[in-house]
Each structure stands twice: as C-alpha cells, then as structure tokens.
C-alpha cells in the first residue's frame, strides 16, 4: 500500500514538472503549427538564468527565501526577452511555410541557443547553493507520506502546474481574446479577413509559450545541476507527452503528462529495468489506438 502511495506521489510530482514544460510546446503548436524544438533551449535558458540570479542573491547575503523571487524573475526575463526576439526577429518571416521547414528552423535555433548557453555559462555543471549549503529546494521544509520524506518544493511544482493549466484553459475558453485565438487556430486566413490581428495573436502566444518553458527551467534549476545539453534531454520527454495527448491540445498535455509520470513512477518502483522503455511503450500503444493522440480534434480538410 505504502509503495502504491509512493508511486502516486512520485508520479504526480513528475507529471507536474513535465506538464509545465509540455504545455508551452503544445500551445505554440496548437496556435502556430510550429513544432518548436527550441523550446528545450528556452527551458535551459530559464534554468541557467535562475541559477545565476539566485547565486547572485545568495552571494549578496540576502535572506534565502528571496531566492524564490529570483527564480520567478529569471523566468520572466527569459520569457519576455527571448519570446519576442525569436518571434519578431525570425519566425514572423516564415509563417505560411511548410511545417517541416519550421521544424528545421527551430532545430537550427536550438543548436544556436545551445552554443549561446555554452558561450555565456561555460560547460561546467552549475547549481544553486547558499553559503551554508542551503538550496531553494530544501528551504520550504518537508512533508511525510507513507514513510517517505518529500520536500515541500514538490507541492510548489504541483501548484504551478495546476494554476498554469487552469489559467490557460480559462483564458482560451472564457475570454474574448481566447475566443479570437480559437478562431485563428481554426482558420488563419478567414480570421485575418474578419479583422483579427493574427500577427499580434502569434506574438502573444509565442511569448507565453517561451515564458512557460522558462518557468519550467527556473523551477527545475534548484533541484538539479544545470548543464549544457539539459534542453535536449527534456525536449524528448516533452514531445512524448504532447504526442500522447495529441499535438496542440491542452487537456491532452495534462493527461499525457499524468500518464507518463505515473507509468514512469510505477516502473521505477516495481520494475526498474523497464523504466527507460515504459514511456515509449505507452506512447506506441496510444499511437496504435489513436494515431493522432488522445485529444486530437477532427482535422478540417482544406483545399
């Protein structure tokens, strides 16, 4: 029983982490039809910025709790700078091109950003640590469940995942701009003809997506040693989640993250040998039964 509870808790924590990263990816694809490989780099940028800012914060001798503000600041900075720069400086010239071209472009961007990170931060792994070895990960204290100790930081992850998911769902379905966005998703040309500012919609969507990637990175930073190449590792998992859920679907990303998280946690606890394989096995099964993922809407055929 206690092991089952552990699987649930571990699975939900991991799902939350995955969801925060995957939701931005699926949002950008849903609206812009761009499979943004550079999402992994934005995640890494968020993580590196978070480490730099919190390390600076600790070095000033400010109260450790303030390091959380630095994590938030890092996500905001990375999201608000890189999102607009990439969208205005690069992607807007390529709208209407084939999806494959855009995958290649974002892949190129991914490579450039990886090298940019190397130039700025070097190749040594970096992690956040205060003068007495304290990390934001341990600062919030622990909770105990089923005989296992978990840092409360995990609750923060779950909260951020739930809040960002609900906020996006609300904004899409219950606000005017959300409805306009859905119209753009449905048909870009007709929306433009009806007077919707498609360029602005794309700009805002991409910036939000980039911000979510950076949030994922900033929240991950205190729990790991940030290192070049971390973006590549995470983008693979995020793709698995998004593909299981159905590209472009918000509920899909949530369900996909939950499935991947729980399956992985169950594998780790009951059959560690199949852990690596389990996630892809689930993905294969889902794709055999529903080739477009769990929540793919019917595609409108265009002439």
């Amino acid at each position: 029983m206690s092991q089952f509870v552990a699987v649930l808790v571990d699975g939900i924590v991991y799902s939350s982490w995955l969801f925060i990263i995957a939701v931005g990816l699926t949002l950008i694809y849903g609206v812009m039809k761009i499979l943004n490989i550079a999402h992994g780099s934005l995640y890494a940028l968020g993580a590196f910025a978070a480490v730099s800012l919190s390390t600076w914060w600790f070095a000033q001798g400010y109260p450790p709790m303030g390091s959380f503000a630095m994590l938030g600041l890092a996500a905001v900075l990375v999201g608000l700078v890189s999102g607009p720069v990439i969208e205005r400086g690069l992607l807007r010239f390529l709208y209407g091109k084939d999806e494959v071209v855009l995958v290649l472009v974002t892949y190129a961007l991914f490579l450039i950003l990886e090298d940019f990170i190397k130039l700025v931060w070097g190749v040594d792994p970096l992690f956040v640590q205060g003068p007495n070895g304290e990390t934001p990960y341990g600062l919030l204290g622990n909770f105990e469940i089923a005989g296992l100790t978990y840092p409360n930081y995990n609750l923060l992850l779950i909260a951020v995942a739930v809040i960002s998911g609900l906020a996006l769902a609300w904004a899409l379905n219950r606000t005017r701009s959300g409805k306009l966005l859905l119209a753009v998703i449905h048909d870009r040309e007709i929306s433009a003809a009806l007077g919707i500012n498609v360029g602005l919609t794309y700009f805002v969507t991409f910036t939000i997506g980039a911000f979510l990637a950076a949030v994922g990175g900033a929240l991950t930073a205190p729990t790991v040693s940030v290192v070049t190449g971390m973006g590549a590792e995470v983008i693979v998992m995020a793709f698995a989640v998004v593909v299981i859920g159905g590209l472009g679907s918000l509920q899909g990303a949530a369900l996909g993250a939950l499935i991947v998280g729980l399956v992985r946690a169950a594998a780790v606890h009951y059959q560690p040998e199949v852990e690596l394989f389990s996630v892809y096995f689930v993905m294969a099964v889902v794709l055999i039964l529903r080739p477009k993922g769990l929540f793919s809407g019917a595609e409108v055929r265009k002439i």
């Binding site: 990960y137 341990g138 622990n142 790991v224 606890h269």
Partner: protein, 448 residues
C-alpha cells in the same frame, strides 16, 4: 657494457666528424599528438576540460624540460610536442570520422584520448586498421582488451573492474556487518558494468548479501524523485552509485533533503571530482573513490607535486582524477618512446666495424619507428604522479595499478577524505587472460 661503450663512441664520432647536424636534421621538428577529450556536453565540465588543461600544462612543462626524473628530457626524447585537441562529443560514429581526419589529414604521430567507453570500443578497431598508436587515457570498460587483442591500441589506466572490487573490499573492511545493497547508476555501458561488477563482487565476498533495488535512470535524466523513493523503501545498508557530473549533483541535491543518507551509507565510485563543489550536500561517511590512486589519493612524490603545481598554475585549482589519467597516458608514451631510443642506440653496430659508419649512425639516431615504440610500451612499468603503472594485461596493452578509497567528513566548510586505504594492483585486478566477471565469480583466483 656494450650499450654504454657504443653510445659513447657514437657520440664522440658524431661530434668529431661533424655529423651531428646531419643526424639532427633527420629528427622531426615536433611530435604531433592528437588529443581527444570532451569539450562540450555533460562530460566536459568534470572530466573533459580538466583533461585538456592537464594535457596542455603537461606538454608545456615537458617541452620546457621542467618535469622531474625520469622525465626530465625535453618533449619526447628531445623532440618538442605539439597537441591537436579534438572534441569527443557527438557519439561513436562521429568520433570514428574525427579519428580518421586526425590520423589521415592532420598526420598526428600518436593519438591519446577518449573518456567514453563507447568511443573507445569504436575507435580501437579503426586505430588497428590505420596502424596508428592510440592510447586510451580514461575510459573504463574491461571489454576492450578482454574481447579482442590489438597491436596499436593501449590503455594506460586500469579498467573499471578494480573500482568495484576495491569498493567492496573497503566497504567490508570498514563495515563488516553491511549486508543489503541498492544501486543507482546510469543506463549505459558505464553504469551497467559498474553495478554488475559491484553486485557480483559483493555477493562473492558476502554470500548472505541481499539486493534492495537497482535503479538505472537514463543518462541526463535530471529528475530522480521516484528513484529516491524506491531507494528509501529498499532499506539498504549501502547505496552504490557510479553517477558522475551533473547527474550526480542533481541526485545529491534531491536526495539530501529527503533524508535518504540518514538511512543508507553512500558509495560514490567516481565521486572525487565533485566533492569540493558539493559542500553541504555530501553526507559525512560517504565512501568515495577516484578510479585509481589519483588526486587526494595520490601518494606523495616529486612527480605528484610537479603535476599539482603545473596544473594549478594553468587551471587555478588542484587537478582532479581525469588530470592524473592524462598524465599517465602522456608519461607512458614518453617512457616508451625514450626507452625505444635507448634500445636503438644501444644495439647499434659497434664502431669496430668501420663500414657504413654514417648510415648506421643515422639509423641509430633516427626517431624510433611505431614498431619500436610499441615493443617498448608493451609490458612497460613506469612512474606516474599516481605511483607505479604496469602494462600487465591484454598482452601488455592494458595497465593495472592499485587504487584507494576513503570516507568523507565535512570540516569548516571543506569536504575532507579520511581513513584512506590502498589496495595493491594484483589484489584487485584479474590475472592476464581471465575476463573480469569470470575472475570475480571464481572468487578472485590468482591464476588461470
């Protein structure tokens, strides 16, 4: 007798006849060494870049003739060295083509390199095909010389079996009651082999051993929440881990607040390079190794001091174990190269035969051929900053050396390694011709 007399005569003659310039003209301007190490990716920070800094510092020092005996001659046998550094990142297929470029276009004289076991396994047959002396300095898999034999390929460090055997010995020497073990290792050759060797060794040494859980997260996984829960639930006395670099740090950062190490002692097979970085997150009593008697485990000697000072002048910090591995490789080739020169001069035709004096002289003073260097390096025993290294296994191509383990203690914000115990090479390495795993299963039999 003959050696000394001949050399003296040849030397005198060379000076007398004014042949010295001619003999020198035959020497190359420099010896080019292709050096392959991770300059990007996960392994760059903890291993690759320190290795590169060490190689550069050592080559500069050797070229200046500043190394202590027996390596005081400049470069290799008086010829200065030149490094061509290549990034090891990108996987085995890419490395094979990089290797071909290095050998065929750049025309290097030796290749020293490779940290990844997969890269070593892929490069070895290609080195043989291109007939280029290639020395692996850091990769660990025992398979290279246990599953094949090579003429041009050498490895100047002991393979990974010794790390597992010594870790078991150290654990049982210090904590004879330890019985239940769990592991967390990366899911690729290094992590799998490390766990398999340790698990088998421990079971042989302690028949009533119990295995809790063996976790194999993906390389670079980053999130270890579920693995840590499983490790806590496994109630192990000891947790074995060969994690390294960023993965190791992520694991420690996530496991420490969860009190895993209050329950279980930790063994870090390759933990040494990370210790000084992780003050506050390395629990006291953690058993650490450096995959050989390197860095904090290196015995005091003039060579050790030389490496520490040379490296520190270049990098600003003290060398970690990959830096010591590099020193073993470069000094090993240097020892062999100079031994080959000595042998050649020693066996030159004595002056009594006044025939073909000039030709014989030129032959004796020409740089040693690959064949001669190979013959000299096989079964060579040489001094390194980490003590004596012997090329005893794999028909003289695979080194063995002793190793050491210690236990950590944090004092005044510094992680110190105490209770260091050394294990001699013969006790922890298999005999020639016996595959590692068979040797362990046989109960560490000394002979075939």
């Amino acid at each position: 007798m003959k050696t000394f007399a001949t050399r003296a005569l040849l030397g005198a003659l060379a000076l007398g006849l004014g042949l010295a310039p001619a003999a020198q003209a035959q020497q190359k301007d420099s010896i080019k060494i292709g050096f392959v190490t991770f300059l990007s990716g996960q392994a760059a920070g903890p291993f690759g870049v320190p290795a590169r800094l060490a190689a550069e510092a050592i080559v500069e020092s050797l070229n200046a003739g500043k190394a202590p005996a027996p390596y005081q001659i400049k470069g290799f046998g008086g010829t200065p060295l030149e490094l061509v550094v290549i990034d090891e990142a990108g996987g085995a297929t890419k490395q094979v083509s990089e290797y071909r470029t290095l050998v065929q276009r750049q025309g290097v004289d030796f290749v020293i390199g490779y940290i990844g076991s997969g890269d070593c396994l892929a490069i070895a047959p290609v080195a043989e095909e291109l007939q280029k002396i290639t020395v692996f300095f850091d990769c660990g898999t025992p398979r290279i010389f246990e599953e094949a034999s090579y003429k041009y390929v050498f490895r100047t460090r002991a393979h990974a079996t010794m790390d597992a055997v010594a870790a078991s010995l150290y654990l049982l020497d210090n904590r004879p009651a330890a019985k239940r073990i769990s592991g967390i290792n990366q899911n690729y050759a290094w992590g799998q082999d490390s766990w398999a060797d340790f698990e088998t060794t421990f079971k042989v040494m302690k028949p009533e051993a119990e295995i809790g859980t063996s976790q194999m997260p993906k390389f670079g996984a980053g999130q270890y929440g579920a693995e840590i829960s499983a490790l806590i639930n496994s109630n192990a006395d000891v947790i074995h881990s060969s994690l390294w670099g960023g993965d190791l740090e992520a694991f420690m950062l996530q496991a420490t607040p969860r009190d895993l190490f209050k329950k279980s002692q930790l063994i870090l097979i390759a933990g040494e390079p990370n210790l000084h970085r992780m003050v506050g997150n390395v629990p006291d009593g953690t058993i650490v190794g450096a995959r050989g008697p390197h860095a904090v485990f290196a015995p005091p000697s003039a060579l050790n001091t030389w490496l520490r000072d040379t490296y520190k002048a270049k990098a600003g910090v003290v060398p970690n174990y990959p830096a010591y591995s590099v020193a073993q490789a470069i000094l090993g080739v240097k020892a062999a190269y100079e031994k080959a020169i000595q042998k050649k001069i020693g066996s030159a035709i004595p002056m009594g035969a006044a025939k073909n004096v000039k030709e014989e002289m030129q032959k004796a003073y020409a740089p040693p051929t690959d064949e001669e260097v190979i013959a000299a390096l096989e079964f060579l025993s040489f001094d390194t900053p980490s003590g004596k290294v012997s090329m005893s296994l794999g028909k003289g191509h695979q080194a063995i050396q002793g190793t050491a383990y210690g236990t950590t203690r944090t004092e005044n914000g510094v992680v110190k390694v105490g209770n260091i115990k050394y294990y001699p090479a013969e006790r922890i390495n298999p005999p020639e011709g016996v595959p590692s795993l068979e040797w362990i299963k046989s109960g560490f039999k000394k002979t075939k």
